[in-house]
Symmetry: C2
Amino acid sequence: MPVNSFENYPMTWKPNRDQLTAPLYLSIANLLEYDIINGYLAPNTKLPPQRELADYLDINLSTVTRAFKIGELKGLIYAKTGKGTFVASNAGATITIVDNEAEKNYLDMGLIKPFDQFNPLVVETVKSIMSKGYIEKLLDYSHPLGSPYHKMAARQWLQKCNIDANIGNIAITSGAQNSVTLTLISLFHSGDKIAVDMYTYPNFIELASMLNIQLIPIRHDIFGMNPEELDAQCKANNIQGIYLTPSCHNPTAILMNMSRRQEIAKVISKNKLILIEDDIFSFLAPQNYLPITCLVPDQSIYISSVSKSLCSGIRVGFMFYPEKYASNIIRGIYNINVKTPALNAEIISELINTGMADKIVENKIAISKERNEIYKKYFKIENPNENPISFFRWLPLNQKFNANEFEKNALIQGIKLYHSNRFLVGHSEEKQFLRVSLSSMDDANELEEGLALLKNILFETTDPSNIDSLII
Amino acid sequence: MPVNSFENYPMTWKPNRDQLTAPLYLSIANLLEYDIINGYLAPNTKLPPQRELADYLDINLSTVTRAFKIGELKGLIYAKTGKGTFVASNAGATITIVDNEAEKNYLDMGLIKPFDQFNPLVVETVKSIMSKGYIEKLLDYSHPLGSPYHKMAARQWLQKCNIDANIGNIAITSGAQNSVTLTLISLFHSGDKIAVDMYTYPNFIELASMLNIQLIPIRHDIFGMNPEELDAQCKANNIQGIYLTPSCHNPTAILMNMSRRQEIAKVISKNKLILIEDDIFSFLAPQNYLPITCLVPDQSIYISSVSKSLCSGIRVGFMFYPEKYASNIIRGIYNINVKTPALNAEIISELINTGMADKIVENKIAISKERNEIYKKYFKIENPNENPISFFRWLPLNQKFNANEFEKNALIQGIKLYHSNRFLVGHSEEKQFLRVSLSSMDDANELEEGLALLKNILFETTDPSNIDSLII
DNA sequence: CGATTTGTACGTTCACATTTT
DNA sequence: AAAAATGTGAACGTACAAATC
């Protein structure tokens, strides 16, 4: 029996005692999920302390803990010792970003497309391959990790990323997201914890949630992830891994400089984390920057892909792993992919070997520079550590919005944008941002149109005293 | 303190008390894993009862239970209430089957290859596509589930499998194994249980183990999985799903007849299981056989692929799912695959639309018939319910072998074969078998050579009084 | 068929770490 | 700097169910 009556207490969540069925912990977890999904518990609501809830429901503290743990692994809530438990910012929302519209009647500044206008250059290469006589050899089950020839091309590609890889530690995969999936399944287990930037690529957030891997958000400063904070969270949390995209962090566009990379590497080393370095934007980083993988080579998985740099639809990526993880990763590839189609690997290899890859990359860098120049006509880039030739920009807002409403309203006005909440892991934040894609428009004019429209929307809705960060 | 001294008891496993560190349960699980992987605990060894071990180590029963659970989810041990806990038959062994040999100096009767000699027909189609003008449109991020055109082709393919699918409930995937991965990640959670045939495709076993999904083996009779046994296990175990390959079960080659399909469907329905129907061999089943999916359409995921029937290396599969699972599966595809390359889907669509697919399938059926005729010259097919045109055969052994040694010995003598233990889920079985692939040899002569060699090996090693099931 | 053996699953206890006040 | 609030995670106790004898 509860000692006190709580009927007069203001509890933010009062699950109905009578609805509880055995097993209690599951029953509570389900009620919680129901109330969050159906909007009875708004994002960022503080839930009652576990002890209070246990007392109210007349059950044991640990039973509540267990129920809350389920919610946390599903990404519905997040808990902070000493502080309390809160409904997650993105609870119940689908945040995955994907190109799924049949017809677009808006200006797209949401998706990060890889400048598909250079795909005709890929077509040339595809056609030249098809005239050759060996296609038949690309159609069977052999060489599940990639043929020696394809791995040689991969090696060449990785060398441009400043990775000097042994052929035996390379695998051809079906793109970066596929590589990340392979890594998470092969090297991590349900319930493991991975440190990520406070703002993280939503598809990674959702993937982790599907695999029951808990993400621990780490605060950043203008240089990227904060190493002290990372170290502190490792001590507090028994974290097994870390996911980083140092060349151009999605969504903040931060390019991590070498000294920060070294500091982070030290913490990774010290805490024996497995580093998942997603370096799909390596081609946008200065050529003398070393991947963090080079600083902690024996505990890093390096992930590269050609989806942003060359061609997205071919779905080919490269993975470089240390020997000690090889057997696990190979087992993962066998059981998850079987193999990546050799035809696709052949196309990419040919692009690399003929120098067409370099040409395409040059073109993409040039157009991205242009697009950034246009952006700077409308908005300031406040953080000098952001990658200046990023395919997208991180625009600070001077006011707090309801993220969903803001996105919807922008769409009504004709532009697709993503609000920073979509990228948030756990916490809600004071400061809000927009991720503005510069690469999804067909041409520069459309981008200008979109940016002008965006500026208008921000002027309209922004408190006039607060518009100083908007140029003009 | 333990009440009794166990020093004189015969315990099959005596972990060293002094090696235990906190947390106890993990420490025990690690010791157990170490002793199994390093061969101190042989497959099928009965471990001490949990209570006895707890008493011996002077810890609580539940702590042992917890440690054992970890071992069970890793596939290292299996437990039977009332009976005891046993080291798994395949504990510690890698059982995945994959084409990974650079050079083969043996006759391959292990891999199930899809008669790659018809790949030149695919090459024709590939070349004809490449001469067309729309390749560029196949190279971007759009239509992650497959373009409407590709889905129409998929629909046509599925119709030949007797599946009448709505376009909206089809997804193009990167092959059957990829579809299975998608299904497991999207619709199941860590710790869930899935019913499978006692003998199951090793890559599925390993995938489940990587995802922390527990497989519950169900006994079969000559018609395939036993429905009563399935029902009983559902009652006992809180099983969420079932994995079936009814057209030609791998490895037993059993073709499940319609009445058994109906019985199984009833049990699936009654216990609200999610059915994963892997029907990659549908083209080897009689045309009037309905997939089990048709009998329980609202809780079935139907998986088809062209890897066996058309071409393995292109990596294209089709998935058909009921509306209620659509959002989960689509989310899974977005986060795991991003998309399946449209170029590959285009090739397969063209094969389907031009009728080339039918031609290839006809050819493969014809050659598989031939190969089975050859097989029957050497060995009897005892179970009339086995698919008569299967790409592989399930050969009963008349003696018990050490599975590993048998496989090794056969390889020394020049043939690659897989012993039934490789396919076992949990239990060890009285009866032993070999899976004999008929499709991995380049020509019929090689197959004859291999079968003759196999027969020799079996004669040599078999007790002469037991050779009656071998013809001649 | 009933007693015994054995594994399962849930809820409970408690020491502890972190954060806030 | 100390006390209070709050979440964490390992280990324990117990009722129960299935299999065996």
